[in-house]
Symmetry: C2
Subunit: 182 residues, 2 copies
Amino acid sequence: GAPGAPGFGGIPGQQQDPLFGYFTAVAGQDGQISAEELQACLTQANFAGGYKPFNLETCRLMINMLDRDMSCTMGFNEFKELWGVLNGWKQHFMSIDRDQSGTVDPNEMRQAVTSMGYNLSPQAMNCIVKRYSTQGKITFDDYVACCVKLRTLTDIFRRRDQAQQGVATFPYDEFIQCTMST
Amino acid sequence: GAPGAPGFGGIPGQQQDPLFGYFTAVAGQDGQISAEELQACLTQANFAGGYKPFNLETCRLMINMLDRDMSCTMGFNEFKELWGVLNGWKQHFMSIDRDQSGTVDPNEMRQAVTSMGYNLSPQAMNCIVKRYSTQGKITFDDYVACCVKLRTLTDIFRRRDQAQQGVATFPYDEFIQCTMST
């Protein structure tokens, strides 16, 4: 760019994105976000509500979901993608949580999962809702964990169901590999 | 029992077990242990080391593993079984953690998983170790989460691999049901 133009002194091409400064502050010297750094960042942005720490386990799942290079950390493009997805989920969650309590009830959770396009039996749905409820309520943190896991597992299933028959076959080792990392 | 015999005033048959008093103290009025109660109990017993809170997520997984009646809570028999399994894992973990640091390294973790009888490829093993490491170390908490999950998923797989060919087939709904609850 021309000297004196806006952004002089910055890194060309990256500076336009307001998220980039935030990313570098969180990522620190290595330029990659670990699960612990993501937790600190989401806690600070008050994603969990009430300034509670965002669950580390959920952070690992999110990094895993987008971790194409298997580094267990997250670069800027992955962070940007996650930020978009997470804001979508936050808006969806807030629209369900009508009384702004910071939690949703099992029925609202079932509706949310259905409206995301997942076609599940009542048993599977009950199993999911039970798994992510605490004292009959689902927090945003657990809602995100549920969304991440459902999306990741559905992707895994689809890759194994190439004939699109709704049935997938796994050798033991691959079953463990897929399911232990989610 | 005869009046005046040892245990007078207690509930016959349950009193001999020293764990029962502990169970009732933890379970409270409903006589069932929830994930939150289990967390409080394992934190108090210092299972995580350094009196850090034991991970709630791991507590849910443990209740799930033994939850045959799908109540999401734990009765005395299930608690007793868990207590035995957990102490076995704790001893195993302490025997690996030779410097008593409270964490084990990836190589030690691989050896531990192998010595439990799991036959996994190097890729599956790496995937597991990465998933449960924090800054290159595995805490007892994460070690337990890993053991619980590996055991539960292997049981699920075996039930679907009745011909014992090392291959299992899942319809989508059942795949989601099995994997979302672990």
